[in-house]
Symmetry: D2
Subunit: 141 residues, 4 copies
Protein backbone atom coordinates (compact mmCIF):
# COMPACT_ATOMS: atom_id res chain seq x y z
CA UNK A 1 0.00 0.00 0.00
CA UNK A 2 1.24 3.47 -0.80
CA UNK A 3 1.71 5.99 1.98
CA UNK A 4 -1.26 8.10 0.96
CA UNK A 5 -4.98 8.17 1.25
CA UNK A 6 -7.46 6.48 3.52
CA UNK A 7 -6.75 3.06 4.97
CA UNK A 8 -9.60 0.73 5.87
CA UNK A 9 -9.51 -1.93 8.57
CA UNK A 10 -12.30 -4.56 8.66
CA UNK A 11 -13.75 -5.83 11.91
CA UNK A 12 -16.80 -7.60 13.17
CA UNK A 13 -18.70 -6.46 16.25
CA UNK A 14 -18.48 -9.04 19.05
CA UNK A 15 -21.54 -10.08 21.01
CA UNK A 16 -19.86 -9.13 24.29
CA UNK A 17 -19.36 -5.56 23.05
CA UNK A 18 -23.05 -4.75 22.96
CA UNK A 19 -24.80 -3.57 26.09
CA UNK A 20 -28.31 -3.94 27.46
CA UNK A 21 -29.56 -1.56 24.75
CA UNK A 22 -28.15 -4.03 22.16
CA UNK A 23 -25.74 -1.42 20.77
CA UNK A 24 -21.94 -1.38 20.99
CA UNK A 25 -20.91 0.25 24.29
CA UNK A 26 -18.97 3.49 23.68
CA UNK A 27 -15.61 2.37 25.11
CA UNK A 28 -15.19 -0.33 22.47
CA UNK A 29 -14.78 2.33 19.77
CA UNK A 30 -11.42 3.25 21.31
CA UNK A 31 -10.44 -0.40 21.10
CA UNK A 32 -11.48 -0.50 17.43
CA UNK A 33 -9.43 2.62 16.69
CA UNK A 34 -6.39 1.25 18.49
CA UNK A 35 -6.49 -1.92 16.42
CA UNK A 36 -7.00 0.09 13.24
CA UNK A 37 -4.07 2.34 14.17
CA UNK A 38 -1.73 -0.66 14.50
CA UNK A 39 -2.94 -2.08 11.17
CA UNK A 40 -2.57 1.33 9.50
CA UNK A 41 1.05 1.68 10.65
CA UNK A 42 1.85 -1.87 9.54
CA UNK A 43 0.25 -1.20 6.14
CA UNK A 44 2.38 1.94 5.84
CA UNK A 45 5.54 -0.10 6.44
CA UNK A 46 6.16 0.87 10.06
CA UNK A 47 4.66 -1.80 12.32
CA UNK A 48 4.78 -1.19 16.07
CA UNK A 49 7.73 -3.56 16.66
CA UNK A 50 9.79 -1.63 14.12
CA UNK A 51 9.01 1.66 15.89
CA UNK A 52 10.12 0.24 19.21
CA UNK A 53 13.29 -1.17 17.63
CA UNK A 54 14.02 2.27 16.20
CA UNK A 55 13.94 3.64 19.74
CA UNK A 56 10.65 5.49 19.85
CA UNK A 57 7.10 4.90 20.94
CA UNK A 58 3.85 6.88 20.83
CA UNK A 59 1.53 8.05 23.57
CA UNK A 60 -2.09 9.01 23.22
CA UNK A 61 -2.73 12.49 24.67
CA UNK A 62 -6.10 13.44 23.21
CA UNK A 63 -9.04 11.86 21.50
CA UNK A 64 -12.51 13.06 20.64
CA UNK A 65 -15.39 11.05 19.29
CA UNK A 66 -18.70 11.98 17.67
CA UNK A 67 -21.38 9.36 17.33
CA UNK A 68 -23.82 9.59 14.41
CA UNK A 69 -25.37 6.17 14.84
CA UNK A 70 -25.08 2.83 16.58
CA UNK A 71 -23.39 -0.47 15.79
CA UNK A 72 -25.04 -3.76 16.60
CA UNK A 73 -23.98 -7.40 16.81
CA UNK A 74 -22.90 -8.97 14.45
CA UNK A 75 -22.30 -5.91 12.24
CA UNK A 76 -19.46 -5.97 9.75
CA UNK A 77 -17.59 -2.69 10.15
CA UNK A 78 -14.84 -0.92 8.26
CA UNK A 79 -12.67 1.48 10.23
CA UNK A 80 -11.21 4.24 8.04
CA UNK A 81 -7.88 5.71 9.18
CA UNK A 82 -6.20 8.77 7.76
CA UNK A 83 -3.40 11.15 8.68
CA UNK A 84 -4.87 14.50 9.75
CA UNK A 85 -1.72 16.38 10.76
CA UNK A 86 2.00 15.85 11.36
CA UNK A 87 3.51 18.27 13.88
CA UNK A 88 6.91 18.67 15.50
CA UNK A 89 6.61 16.15 18.32
CA UNK A 90 3.08 14.92 17.71
CA UNK A 91 0.77 13.73 14.96
CA UNK A 92 -2.96 13.40 14.55
CA UNK A 93 -5.03 10.66 12.95
CA UNK A 94 -8.68 10.59 11.97
CA UNK A 95 -10.82 7.49 12.39
CA UNK A 96 -14.29 6.57 11.25
CA UNK A 97 -16.40 3.47 11.75
CA UNK A 98 -18.52 2.70 8.70
CA UNK A 99 -21.27 0.14 8.20
CA UNK A 100 -22.36 -0.36 4.60
CA UNK A 101 -20.48 2.84 3.83
CA UNK A 102 -22.42 4.90 6.39
CA UNK A 103 -20.36 6.54 9.16
CA UNK A 104 -21.48 5.70 12.70
CA UNK A 105 -18.63 7.38 14.63
CA UNK A 106 -15.92 9.87 13.65
CA UNK A 107 -12.89 10.42 15.86
CA UNK A 108 -9.62 12.32 16.02
CA UNK A 109 -6.64 11.25 18.08
CA UNK A 110 -3.39 13.04 18.92
CA UNK A 111 -0.26 11.02 19.64
CA UNK A 112 3.04 12.35 20.97
CA UNK A 113 6.33 10.70 20.10
CA UNK A 114 8.50 9.64 23.03
CA UNK A 115 11.86 7.93 23.32
CA UNK A 116 11.85 4.34 24.59
CA UNK A 117 14.80 5.36 26.80
CA UNK A 118 12.58 7.43 29.09
CA UNK A 119 13.90 10.71 27.70
CA UNK A 120 10.39 12.01 27.07
CA UNK A 121 9.05 13.82 24.00
CA UNK A 122 11.10 13.83 20.83
CA UNK A 123 10.67 15.10 17.28
CA UNK A 124 8.65 12.98 14.84
CA UNK A 125 11.37 10.80 13.20
CA UNK A 126 11.64 11.01 9.38
CA UNK A 127 10.63 7.36 8.93
CA UNK A 128 7.45 7.98 10.92
CA UNK A 129 6.67 11.14 8.95
CA UNK A 130 7.19 9.17 5.74
CA UNK A 131 4.85 6.42 6.92
CA UNK A 132 2.17 8.92 7.95
CA UNK A 133 2.38 10.60 4.54
CA UNK A 134 0.69 13.85 3.50
CA UNK A 135 -2.38 14.74 5.60
CA UNK A 136 -5.78 13.80 4.18
CA UNK A 137 -8.16 14.54 7.10
CA UNK A 138 -11.51 12.77 7.25
CA UNK A 139 -13.18 15.83 8.71
CA UNK A 140 -12.72 19.59 8.95
CA UNK A 141 -10.21 20.81 11.55
Amino acid sequence: MSATGVFEFPLQVRYMEVDAQAVVFNAWYLTYFDEAFAAFMAARGLPYEKMIEAGFDVQLVHTDLDWHGALRWPDQVRVAVSTARVGTTSFTLDFQTRRDGTPTCTARTVYVVIGTDGSGKRPVPPQLAAALGPPTPLRAP
Copy 2:
Protein backbone atom coordinates in the same frame (compact mmCIF):
# COMPACT_ATOMS: atom_id res chain seq x y z
CA MET B 1 -26.11 14.95 48.61
CA SER B 2 -27.24 18.31 47.35
CA ALA B 3 -27.62 18.89 43.64
CA THR B 4 -24.60 21.12 43.37
CA GLY B 5 -20.87 20.90 43.12
CA VAL B 6 -18.48 18.17 42.16
CA PHE B 7 -19.32 14.53 42.82
CA GLU B 8 -16.55 11.99 43.33
CA PHE B 9 -16.76 8.30 42.53
CA PRO B 10 -14.07 5.96 43.92
CA LEU B 11 -12.68 3.07 41.91
CA GLN B 12 -9.70 0.79 41.85
CA VAL B 13 -7.80 0.00 38.66
CA ARG B 14 -8.15 -3.67 37.72
CA TYR B 15 -5.15 -5.72 36.69
CA MET B 16 -6.83 -6.66 33.40
CA GLU B 17 -7.19 -2.99 32.48
CA VAL B 18 -3.47 -2.36 32.15
CA ASP B 19 -1.72 -3.15 28.89
CA ALA B 20 1.77 -4.34 27.98
CA GLN B 21 3.12 -0.91 28.99
CA ALA B 22 1.64 -1.52 32.48
CA VAL B 23 -0.66 1.52 32.20
CA VAL B 24 -4.45 1.55 31.94
CA PHE B 25 -5.45 1.16 28.28
CA ASN B 26 -7.27 4.28 27.01
CA ALA B 27 -10.68 2.66 26.38
CA TRP B 28 -11.18 1.87 30.08
CA TYR B 29 -11.48 5.57 30.88
CA LEU B 30 -14.81 5.61 29.05
CA THR B 31 -15.91 2.71 31.21
CA TYR B 32 -14.84 4.59 34.35
CA PHE B 33 -16.76 7.68 33.24
CA ASP B 34 -19.86 5.65 32.45
CA GLU B 35 -19.86 4.12 35.94
CA ALA B 36 -19.24 7.53 37.49
CA PHE B 37 -22.12 9.01 35.46
CA ALA B 38 -24.54 6.39 36.81
CA ALA B 39 -23.34 6.96 40.38
CA PHE B 40 -23.60 10.74 39.91
CA MET B 41 -27.20 10.53 38.73
CA ALA B 42 -28.10 8.19 41.60
CA ALA B 43 -26.45 10.57 44.08
CA ARG B 44 -28.49 13.43 42.61
CA GLY B 45 -31.70 11.48 43.17
CA LEU B 46 -32.35 10.35 39.62
CA PRO B 47 -30.96 6.84 39.20
CA TYR B 48 -31.09 5.30 35.72
CA GLU B 49 -34.11 3.08 36.48
CA LYS B 50 -36.09 6.14 37.55
CA MET B 51 -35.21 7.91 34.30
CA ILE B 52 -36.40 4.94 32.26
CA GLU B 53 -39.60 4.72 34.34
CA ALA B 54 -40.20 8.41 33.64
CA GLY B 55 -40.12 7.60 29.92
CA PHE B 56 -36.79 8.99 28.86
CA ASP B 57 -33.25 7.81 28.29
CA VAL B 58 -29.94 9.41 27.34
CA GLN B 59 -27.62 8.82 24.42
CA LEU B 60 -23.97 9.72 24.24
CA VAL B 61 -23.24 11.80 21.13
CA HIS B 62 -19.83 13.28 21.85
CA THR B 63 -16.91 12.80 24.17
CA ASP B 64 -13.40 14.15 24.27
CA LEU B 65 -10.56 13.11 26.53
CA ASP B 66 -7.22 14.67 27.41
CA TRP B 67 -4.62 12.57 29.15
CA HIS B 68 -2.15 14.28 31.49
CA GLY B 69 -0.72 11.15 33.03
CA ALA B 70 -1.13 7.41 33.39
CA LEU B 71 -2.92 5.12 35.82
CA ARG B 72 -1.38 1.85 36.96
CA TRP B 73 -2.57 -1.26 38.75
CA PRO B 74 -3.68 -1.25 41.59
CA ASP B 75 -4.14 2.55 41.77
CA GLN B 76 -6.96 3.96 43.86
CA VAL B 77 -8.72 6.54 41.70
CA ARG B 78 -11.40 9.14 42.29
CA VAL B 79 -13.51 10.15 39.31
CA ALA B 80 -14.85 13.70 39.61
CA VAL B 81 -18.14 14.41 37.83
CA SER B 82 -19.71 17.81 37.34
CA THR B 83 -22.43 19.39 35.24
CA ALA B 84 -20.88 21.56 32.54
CA ARG B 85 -23.98 22.69 30.65
CA VAL B 86 -27.71 22.04 30.39
CA GLY B 87 -29.16 22.71 26.93
CA THR B 88 -32.57 22.29 25.34
CA THR B 89 -32.38 18.63 24.34
CA SER B 90 -28.89 17.83 25.56
CA PHE B 91 -26.59 18.24 28.54
CA THR B 92 -22.86 18.09 29.10
CA LEU B 93 -20.87 16.58 31.95
CA ASP B 94 -17.21 16.96 32.85
CA PHE B 95 -15.18 14.06 34.21
CA GLN B 96 -11.74 13.79 35.69
CA THR B 97 -9.74 10.85 36.99
CA ARG B 98 -7.61 11.81 39.99
CA ARG B 99 -4.94 9.84 41.82
CA ASP B 100 -3.84 11.36 45.12
CA GLY B 101 -5.60 14.53 44.00
CA THR B 102 -3.62 14.78 40.76
CA PRO B 103 -5.65 14.71 37.53
CA THR B 104 -4.61 12.03 35.02
CA CYS B 105 -7.41 12.50 32.47
CA THR B 106 -10.03 15.19 31.90
CA ALA B 107 -13.05 14.54 29.71
CA ARG B 108 -16.25 16.15 28.55
CA THR B 109 -19.28 14.23 27.36
CA VAL B 110 -22.48 15.37 25.65
CA TYR B 111 -25.69 13.40 26.10
CA VAL B 112 -28.96 13.88 24.25
CA VAL B 113 -32.28 13.07 25.85
CA ILE B 114 -34.52 10.67 23.94
CA GLY B 115 -37.92 9.17 24.61
CA THR B 116 -38.06 5.49 25.50
CA ASP B 117 -40.99 5.21 23.08
CA GLY B 118 -38.75 5.60 20.05
CA SER B 119 -39.95 9.15 19.40
CA GLY B 120 -36.38 10.49 19.26
CA LYS B 121 -34.96 13.65 20.84
CA ARG B 122 -36.98 15.46 23.46
CA PRO B 123 -36.46 18.45 25.76
CA VAL B 124 -34.49 17.94 28.98
CA PRO B 125 -37.25 17.10 31.52
CA PRO B 126 -37.48 19.37 34.60
CA GLN B 127 -36.58 16.53 36.98
CA LEU B 128 -33.41 15.87 35.00
CA ALA B 129 -32.50 19.56 34.93
CA ALA B 130 -33.05 19.68 38.70
CA ALA B 131 -30.81 16.66 39.22
CA LEU B 132 -28.06 18.11 37.03
CA GLY B 133 -28.18 21.37 38.96
CA PRO B 134 -26.38 24.60 38.09
CA PRO B 135 -23.31 24.12 35.86
CA THR B 136 -19.92 24.00 37.60
CA PRO B 137 -17.57 22.95 34.77
CA LEU B 138 -14.26 21.26 35.64
CA ARG B 139 -12.52 22.98 32.75
CA ALA B 140 -12.88 26.02 30.52
CA PRO B 141 -15.35 25.70 27.63
Copy 3:
Protein backbone atom coordinates in the same frame (compact mmCIF):
# COMPACT_ATOMS: atom_id res chain seq x y z
CA MET C 1 -20.04 -26.40 5.34
CA SER C 2 -21.26 -29.84 6.27
CA ALA C 3 -22.51 -30.50 9.80
CA THR C 4 -19.54 -32.61 10.78
CA GLY C 5 -15.98 -32.25 11.93
CA VAL C 6 -14.01 -29.42 13.42
CA PHE C 7 -14.79 -25.81 12.56
CA GLU C 8 -12.07 -23.17 12.73
CA PHE C 9 -12.61 -19.49 13.44
CA PRO C 10 -9.76 -17.05 12.75
CA LEU C 11 -9.01 -14.11 15.00
CA GLN C 12 -6.22 -11.73 15.79
CA VAL C 13 -5.19 -10.88 19.33
CA ARG C 14 -5.89 -7.23 20.15
CA TYR C 15 -3.31 -5.08 21.88
CA MET C 16 -5.78 -4.21 24.65
CA GLU C 17 -6.23 -7.90 25.47
CA VAL C 18 -2.68 -8.39 26.70
CA ASP C 19 -1.82 -7.55 30.28
CA ALA C 20 1.30 -6.25 32.02
CA GLN C 21 2.98 -9.62 31.39
CA ALA C 22 2.38 -9.06 27.64
CA VAL C 23 0.19 -12.16 27.37
CA VAL C 24 -3.54 -12.35 26.69
CA PHE C 25 -5.43 -12.01 29.99
CA ASN C 26 -7.39 -15.18 30.79
CA ALA C 27 -10.91 -13.71 30.55
CA TRP C 28 -10.52 -12.91 26.85
CA TYR C 29 -10.46 -16.62 26.01
CA LEU C 30 -14.15 -16.80 26.97
CA THR C 31 -14.77 -13.92 24.59
CA TYR C 32 -12.91 -15.75 21.83
CA PHE C 33 -14.93 -18.92 22.42
CA ASP C 34 -18.20 -17.00 22.43
CA GLU C 35 -17.40 -15.47 19.05
CA ALA C 36 -16.28 -18.84 17.71
CA PHE C 37 -19.52 -20.43 18.98
CA ALA C 38 -21.63 -17.90 17.08
CA ALA C 39 -19.58 -18.41 13.91
CA PHE C 40 -19.79 -22.20 14.30
CA MET C 41 -23.59 -22.12 14.58
CA ALA C 42 -23.84 -19.81 11.57
CA ALA C 43 -21.55 -22.12 9.57
CA ARG C 44 -23.79 -25.06 10.51
CA GLY C 45 -26.82 -23.23 9.16
CA LEU C 46 -28.37 -22.14 12.46
CA PRO C 47 -27.24 -18.57 13.19
CA TYR C 48 -28.29 -17.07 16.51
CA GLU C 49 -31.11 -14.95 15.03
CA LYS C 50 -32.64 -18.08 13.52
CA MET C 51 -32.53 -19.84 16.90
CA ILE C 52 -34.31 -16.94 18.56
CA GLU C 53 -36.91 -16.83 15.77
CA ALA C 54 -37.52 -20.53 16.31
CA GLY C 55 -38.36 -19.75 19.94
CA PHE C 56 -35.34 -21.02 21.79
CA ASP C 57 -32.10 -19.70 23.20
CA VAL C 58 -29.08 -21.18 24.95
CA GLN C 59 -27.56 -20.50 28.34
CA LEU C 60 -24.03 -21.26 29.42
CA VAL C 61 -24.03 -23.34 32.62
CA HIS C 62 -20.47 -24.68 32.76
CA THR C 63 -17.09 -24.07 31.21
CA ASP C 64 -13.61 -25.30 32.00
CA LEU C 65 -10.35 -24.14 30.49
CA ASP C 66 -6.84 -25.58 30.47
CA TRP C 67 -3.98 -23.36 29.40
CA HIS C 68 -0.96 -24.97 27.74
CA GLY C 69 0.70 -21.79 26.60
CA ALA C 70 0.25 -18.06 26.12
CA LEU C 71 -0.97 -15.83 23.31
CA ARG C 72 0.68 -12.50 22.57
CA TRP C 73 -0.15 -9.43 20.53
CA PRO C 74 -0.51 -9.46 17.51
CA ASP C 75 -0.80 -13.27 17.24
CA GLN C 76 -2.96 -14.77 14.53
CA VAL C 77 -5.09 -17.42 16.19
CA ARG C 78 -7.45 -20.12 14.99
CA VAL C 79 -10.18 -21.22 17.36
CA ALA C 80 -11.27 -24.83 16.75
CA VAL C 81 -14.88 -25.67 17.68
CA SER C 82 -16.38 -29.14 17.79
CA THR C 83 -19.49 -30.82 19.16
CA ALA C 84 -18.56 -32.95 22.18
CA ARG C 85 -21.98 -34.21 23.26
CA VAL C 86 -25.68 -33.69 22.59
CA GLY C 87 -27.89 -34.45 25.58
CA THR C 88 -31.61 -34.16 26.29
CA THR C 89 -31.82 -30.50 27.29
CA SER C 90 -28.16 -29.55 26.96
CA PHE C 91 -25.19 -29.87 24.64
CA THR C 92 -21.45 -29.56 25.01
CA LEU C 93 -18.88 -27.97 22.72
CA ASP C 94 -15.10 -28.21 22.75
CA PHE C 95 -12.91 -25.21 21.92
CA GLN C 96 -9.21 -24.83 21.32
CA THR C 97 -7.08 -21.80 20.54
CA ARG C 98 -4.25 -22.66 18.16
CA ARG C 99 -1.29 -20.59 17.03
CA ASP C 100 0.64 -22.06 14.11
CA GLY C 101 -1.22 -25.29 14.77
CA THR C 102 -0.08 -25.49 18.41
CA PRO C 103 -2.85 -25.51 21.05
CA THR C 104 -2.54 -22.82 23.70
CA CYS C 105 -5.86 -23.38 25.50
CA THR C 106 -8.45 -26.17 25.43
CA ALA C 107 -11.93 -25.65 26.80
CA ARG C 108 -15.27 -27.37 27.17
CA THR C 109 -18.57 -25.58 27.56
CA VAL C 110 -22.05 -26.87 28.44
CA TYR C 111 -25.12 -24.99 27.20
CA VAL C 112 -28.72 -25.62 28.21
CA VAL C 113 -31.57 -24.94 25.84
CA ILE C 114 -34.30 -22.63 27.12
CA GLY C 115 -37.50 -21.26 25.62
CA THR C 116 -37.54 -17.59 24.71
CA ASP C 117 -41.00 -17.43 26.35
CA GLY C 118 -39.52 -17.77 29.84
CA SER C 119 -40.72 -21.36 30.18
CA GLY C 120 -37.26 -22.56 31.21
CA LYS C 121 -35.38 -25.65 30.03
CA ARG C 122 -36.62 -27.53 27.01
CA PRO C 123 -35.44 -30.48 24.92
CA VAL C 124 -32.77 -29.88 22.27
CA PRO C 125 -34.84 -29.12 19.14
CA PRO C 126 -34.23 -31.39 16.09
CA GLN C 127 -32.88 -28.50 14.00
CA LEU C 128 -30.31 -27.73 16.69
CA ALA C 129 -29.31 -31.39 17.00
CA ALA C 130 -28.91 -31.52 13.21
CA ALA C 131 -26.71 -28.41 13.23
CA LEU C 132 -24.54 -29.75 16.04
CA GLY C 133 -24.07 -33.03 14.15
CA PRO C 134 -22.42 -36.18 15.48
CA PRO C 135 -19.99 -35.58 18.38
CA THR C 136 -16.30 -35.33 17.53
CA PRO C 137 -14.75 -34.18 20.83
CA LEU C 138 -11.40 -32.38 20.79
CA ARG C 139 -10.35 -34.04 24.03
CA ALA C 140 -11.14 -37.10 26.13
CA PRO C 141 -14.27 -36.87 28.31
Copy 4:
Protein backbone atom coordinates in the same frame (compact mmCIF):
# COMPACT_ATOMS: atom_id res chain seq x y z
CA MET D 1 -7.13 -10.77 58.72
CA SER D 2 -6.01 -14.20 59.84
CA ALA D 3 -4.79 -16.70 57.27
CA THR D 4 -7.84 -18.91 57.52
CA GLY D 5 -11.39 -19.10 56.35
CA VAL D 6 -13.28 -17.49 53.54
CA PHE D 7 -12.37 -14.04 52.29
CA GLU D 8 -14.99 -11.82 50.68
CA PHE D 9 -14.34 -9.15 48.09
CA PRO D 10 -17.10 -6.62 47.30
CA LEU D 11 -17.75 -5.38 43.79
CA GLN D 12 -20.46 -3.73 41.80
CA VAL D 13 -21.50 -4.91 38.36
CA ARG D 14 -20.68 -2.33 35.70
CA TYR D 15 -23.20 -1.38 33.04
CA MET D 16 -20.74 -2.26 30.28
CA GLU D 17 -20.42 -5.82 31.61
CA VAL D 18 -24.00 -6.77 30.81
CA ASP D 19 -24.87 -8.00 27.34
CA ALA D 20 -27.95 -7.75 25.15
CA GLN D 21 -29.75 -10.17 27.49
CA ALA D 22 -29.09 -7.66 30.33
CA VAL D 23 -27.01 -10.21 32.27
CA VAL D 24 -23.27 -10.10 32.99
CA PHE D 25 -21.40 -11.68 30.07
CA ASN D 26 -19.57 -14.85 31.15
CA ALA D 27 -15.99 -13.59 30.56
CA TRP D 28 -16.33 -10.89 33.24
CA TYR D 29 -16.51 -13.54 35.96
CA LEU D 30 -12.84 -14.34 35.30
CA THR D 31 -12.08 -10.65 35.72
CA TYR D 32 -13.99 -10.61 39.01
CA PHE D 33 -12.08 -13.66 40.26
CA ASP D 34 -8.74 -12.17 39.25
CA GLU D 35 -9.46 -9.01 41.24
CA ALA D 36 -10.68 -11.07 44.18
CA PHE D 37 -7.51 -13.20 44.03
CA ALA D 38 -5.29 -10.11 44.27
CA ALA D 39 -7.34 -8.75 47.17
CA PHE D 40 -7.26 -12.14 48.91
CA MET D 41 -3.45 -12.36 48.68
CA ALA D 42 -3.10 -8.79 49.94
CA ALA D 43 -5.45 -9.54 52.85
CA ARG D 44 -3.35 -12.58 53.69
CA GLY D 45 -0.22 -10.43 53.86
CA LEU D 46 1.31 -11.36 50.52
CA PRO D 47 0.31 -8.75 47.94
CA TYR D 48 1.37 -9.34 44.35
CA GLU D 49 4.29 -6.86 44.48
CA LYS D 50 5.73 -8.71 47.47
CA MET D 51 5.53 -12.03 45.59
CA ILE D 52 7.39 -10.56 42.63
CA GLU D 53 10.01 -9.03 44.93
CA ALA D 54 10.49 -12.45 46.54
CA GLY D 55 11.36 -13.82 43.08
CA PHE D 56 8.26 -15.76 42.17
CA ASP D 57 5.06 -15.32 40.24
CA VAL D 58 1.96 -17.41 39.53
CA GLN D 59 0.44 -18.64 36.32
CA LEU D 60 -3.12 -19.74 35.80
CA VAL D 61 -3.25 -23.23 34.23
CA HIS D 62 -6.84 -24.30 34.81
CA THR D 63 -10.16 -22.86 35.74
CA ASP D 64 -13.69 -24.18 35.73
CA LEU D 65 -16.90 -22.28 36.32
CA ASP D 66 -20.46 -23.35 37.08
CA TRP D 67 -23.24 -20.82 36.75
CA HIS D 68 -26.31 -21.15 38.97
CA GLY D 69 -27.83 -17.80 38.17
CA ALA D 70 -27.24 -14.46 36.54
CA LEU D 71 -25.92 -11.10 37.68
CA ARG D 72 -27.45 -7.84 36.47
CA TRP D 73 -26.49 -4.20 36.51
CA PRO D 74 -26.10 -2.59 39.05
CA ASP D 75 -25.95 -5.63 41.37
CA GLN D 76 -23.81 -5.48 44.48
CA VAL D 77 -21.79 -8.67 44.57
CA ARG D 78 -19.52 -10.35 47.07
CA VAL D 79 -16.84 -12.67 45.71
CA ALA D 80 -15.88 -15.38 48.19
CA VAL D 81 -12.31 -16.72 47.92
CA SER D 82 -10.93 -19.73 49.75
CA THR D 83 -7.90 -21.99 49.54
CA ALA D 84 -8.94 -25.39 48.17
CA ARG D 85 -5.56 -27.16 47.98
CA VAL D 86 -1.85 -26.47 48.31
CA GLY D 87 0.32 -28.83 46.24
CA THR D 88 4.04 -29.11 45.53
CA THR D 89 4.34 -26.58 42.70
CA SER D 90 0.73 -25.48 42.42
CA PHE D 91 -2.22 -24.39 44.50
CA THR D 92 -5.95 -24.21 43.99
CA LEU D 93 -8.45 -21.54 45.00
CA ASP D 94 -12.23 -21.61 45.06
CA PHE D 95 -14.30 -18.58 44.10
CA GLN D 96 -17.98 -17.80 44.35
CA THR D 97 -20.01 -14.77 43.34
CA ARG D 98 -22.85 -14.09 45.78
CA ARG D 99 -25.72 -11.64 45.57
CA ASP D 100 -27.68 -11.21 48.79
CA GLY D 101 -25.94 -14.35 50.01
CA THR D 102 -27.11 -16.45 47.06
CA PRO D 103 -24.37 -18.01 44.89
CA THR D 104 -24.60 -17.19 41.18
CA CYS D 105 -21.31 -18.76 40.03
CA THR D 106 -18.85 -21.15 41.64
CA ALA D 107 -15.35 -21.58 40.24
CA ARG D 108 -12.07 -23.35 40.92
CA THR D 109 -8.71 -22.16 39.64
CA VAL D 110 -5.31 -23.84 39.64
CA TYR D 111 -2.16 -21.70 39.69
CA VAL D 112 1.42 -22.91 39.24
CA VAL D 113 4.32 -21.13 40.88
CA ILE D 114 7.11 -19.99 38.57
CA GLY D 115 10.37 -18.15 39.11
CA THR D 116 10.55 -14.58 37.87
CA ASP D 117 13.99 -15.46 36.46
CA GLY D 118 12.48 -17.59 33.69
CA SER D 119 13.53 -20.83 35.40
CA GLY D 120 10.02 -22.28 35.13
CA LYS D 121 8.04 -24.14 37.80
CA ARG D 122 9.25 -24.10 41.36
CA PRO D 123 7.98 -25.40 44.72
CA VAL D 124 5.35 -23.35 46.57
CA PRO D 125 7.48 -21.08 48.82
CA PRO D 126 6.80 -21.30 52.58
CA GLN D 127 5.60 -17.68 52.75
CA LEU D 128 3.03 -18.42 50.04
CA ALA D 129 1.91 -21.62 51.78
CA ALA D 130 1.54 -19.65 55.01
CA ALA D 131 -0.53 -16.98 53.27
CA LEU D 132 -2.78 -19.58 51.63
CA GLY D 133 -3.35 -21.25 54.99
CA PRO D 134 -5.14 -24.55 55.59
CA PRO D 135 -7.57 -25.55 52.81
CA THR D 136 -11.23 -24.75 53.34
CA PRO D 137 -12.78 -25.55 49.95
CA LEU D 138 -16.06 -23.91 48.95
CA ARG D 139 -17.18 -27.03 47.16
CA ALA D 140 -16.55 -30.78 47.06
CA PRO D 141 -13.43 -31.89 45.15
